[in-house]
């Protein structure tokens, strides 16, 4: 049976458009990455990692204090958010599975997950910066942690849900206490997936700027004082890129490239982990 020519043409056009759409989508990815690499490459040098952020209109300088600040705040945020997120996910899948309360709590978690990060920044400013009277790395880490928490909670729920019930039942049949079943059996089984979730959370908060605007602010110098303002990569990009100083702009692109490479690396590792898990 010959297919109607009109239908055939419509088909070709529609599918042709979908190919165009894909090309367009990939084109922007390529454009942004190419720009990033070209601009950021000239800033890549060992100096970027050994010197602190420079004052305007001088040559040289690096990102040491900003890298330290970002790493420190991310580390604290993840160290705090991971246990809380995993435990919360555990409650929602293991103890309250299917209940109305769990549905509401999961819903609220997902809303928090997609909340504009600037709102989180405002919240942390109100409770941690204003009462204590100064910007601090602690409040920056708190804001980042609050963004990471729902991500880890969500992936934990998903991963724990994938663990077959047979495991739980077998452990119970052997007389294992519930909490030990969780920690020694279930967590171990879902280990790769949960780790993936943590990595994704790290990738997510690495690039966040808005929550740090009113919490950690920034610092020209190297500072390990968590109670005071601390330099961080996103804020440095924000400040340096909008200036008219070519050296600052160069460093900003370097920071942008660093962040993007880090996030891409984390994503690739997370995928490898998740992919490996599926084979077991």
């Amino acid at each position: 049976m010959a297919v109607d020519t009109r239908r055939k043409t419509t088909n070709t056009i529609a599918l042709g458009l979908s190919i165009v759409a894909t090309v367009v989508g990939l084109f922007f990815l390529a454009a942004i990455l190419v720009t990033l690499v070209v601009q950021g490459f000239s800033a890549l040098s060992p100096r970027l990692l050994t010197e602190n952020t420079p004052p305007p209109n001088v040559d040289g300088g690096g990102l040491l204090n900003a890298i330290f600040g970002s790493v420190a705040m991310t580390l604290i945020a993840i160290v705090v958010a991971t246990p809380v997120g995993i435990l919360a996910g555990t409650y929602l899948t293991e103890y309250a599975r299917g209940s109305k309360v769990a549905e509401v709590a999961k819903f609220i978690n997902d809303v928090l997950l997609s909340a504009p990060s600037i709102i989180i920044g405002l919240f942390v400013y109100t409770i941690l910066v204003m009462p204590f009277g100064h910007f601090s790395a602690w409040s920056g880490a708190a804001a980042l942690g609050l963004i990471a928490l729902p991500v880890i909670n969500r992936t934990t729920q998903d991963m724990l849900g994938l663990v077959p019930n047979a495991l739980r039942e077998a452990a119970a049949a052997l007389g294992t206490p519930r909490w030990k079943t969780m920690t020694h059996v279930i967590y171990r089984a879902a280990r790769a997936g949960i780790l993936t979730g943590v990595l994704l959370a790290v990738a997510r908060i690495t690039g966040e700027t808005a929550p740090l605007l009113f919490t950690a602010l920034n610092n020209q110098f190297f500072s390990a004082d968590l109670g005071g303002p601390m330099a961080n990569l996103p804020y440095v990009i924000y400040q340096f890129a909008t200036s008219a100083d070519p050296n600052w702009q160069r460093i900003a692109w370097g920071a942008a490239l660093l962040i993007t490479l880090t996030i891409l690396a984390i994503n690739i590792i997370a995928r490898a982990l998740a992919g490996g898990k599926q084979q077991s």
């Binding site: 910066v129 020209q220 005071g228 400040q239 909008t242 200036s243 008219a244 100083d245």
Partner: protein, 347 residues
């Protein structure tokens, strides 16, 4: 294994927290982008000499006022002086740190720095959106020998609260009744037209990127980034080029002695060679600060800057505060106390 990892991470965090306490504390300040270039230079030199850093965030005068009032920084810097009431209400003192000039910057193909002449009425017209093209009659009248394109003017102003805006709009209001009546002057005004950029840096960058644009920044930003600036007609009717000399000429009229709480706006000063948009930056500090040690360090820095920072200020075309006024200022510091005793000069 997981426990070991977690324990290791916790140990790292704790050692971070403890090591932070051991390092020397930096002086924290925030505010005006006007003074930022010279603060940055001073901070660099001060750190080399004494090892103490100045962590200054140029978030705009409005931000500086807010942060110092909220006590999240040790001092604030503003190009708009606070009124007596505001000072008293928040327990603050203010004193001038530096003076300098604000210049209009523009980006027109083929027109060099200093080749364009403007005045308060024409600037007011441009920033109000009444003059929309570069070849408007009003601009042509001031620049008979310059070829101006028929391009639309893109106005660039500050998006954040800015003392630079305050001084610029004050100058516009003095030259144009329309501006004074409808828009007024403050750190943030209702701009009828134009694009908003963050900080003087942002304005400089946006003007650099946008053909046919005009903005206003502190002179150091224009000089350091090779941006084209415009000459202005001053109160005496003369066409003046922005430079250290013309800024100093305007500043020489400043009568700090008789200014209550050093409240003095120096735009549109008389004098044949005075630059019409001169401005000062004030430092704001609490009279009874919660962190006396930090305030003591800050005052020591300012004292150092008054005495040792003159050359660096000059190199960036800022006008230093005259020595006689510095004496007056430091005498007023006796009002900054902790436990009843003045903080400055205590050690």
């Amino acid at each position: 294994m997981k426990t070991a990892l977690l324990a290791g991470a916790a140990a790292a965090v704790i050692s971070l927290a403890m090591s932070g306490a051991a390092l020397a504390a930096d002086i924290t300040g925030a505010g005006s982008t006007f003074i930022y270039p010279v603060f940055a230079k001073w901070a660099d030199a001060y750190k080399t000499t004494t090892g103490i850093g100045l962590n200054y965030q140029a978030i705009g005068s409005g931000g500086g006022i807010k942060q110092v009032e909220a006590k999240t920084v040790t001092f604030g810097a503003t190009d708009k002086p606070l009124s007596d009431d505001e000072l008293q209400k928040n327990g603050l003192v203010q004193f001038p740190m530096i003076m300098g000039g604000i210049v209009p910057i523009f980006n027109i193909d083929g027109v060099k720095p200093g080749a364009l002449v403007l005045d308060a009425p024409s600037l007011a017209g441009i920033f109000q959106g009444k003059i929309t093209r570069w070849d408007d009659a009003a601009i042509k009248a001031l620049n008979p020998s310059v070829t101006l394109p028929s391009a639309p003017i893109v106005v660039v102003h500050r998006a954040d609260g800015s003392g630079t805006t305050f001084n610029f709009t004050d100058y516009l209001g003095k030259g144009s009744k329309d501006w004074a009546d409808n828009i007024g002057s403050d750190t943030a005004v209702e701009w009828p037209v134009g694009v908003g950029a963050k900080g003087s840096d942002g304005v400089a960058n946006t003007v650099k990127q946008t053909a046919g644009s005009i903005g206003y920044v502190e002179y150091a930003y224009a000089a350091q980034n090779q941006l084209a600036y415009a000459d202005l007609k001053n109160a005496a009717g003369k066409t003046i080029e922005p430079s250290l000399d013309t800024f100093a000429a305007a500043a020489s009229n400043a009568d700090w002695k008789d200014a209550r709480n050093f409240n003095l706006v120096i735009t549109n000063q008389p004098g044949d060679t005075s630059w019409p948009i001169a401005a000062s930056t004030w430092v704001l500090i609490h009279t009874q600060p919660t962190d006396a040690a930090a305030t003591a360090e800050a005052l020591k820095f300012f004292d150092w800057a008054y005495k040792n920072g003159k050359d660096q200020a000059k190199a960036l075309d800022y006008v230093s505060i005259p020595d006689a006024v510095v004496t007056q200022i430091e005498a007023s510091w006796s009002g900054i106390t902790a436990g009843g005793k003045p903080i400055f000069g205590a050690d």
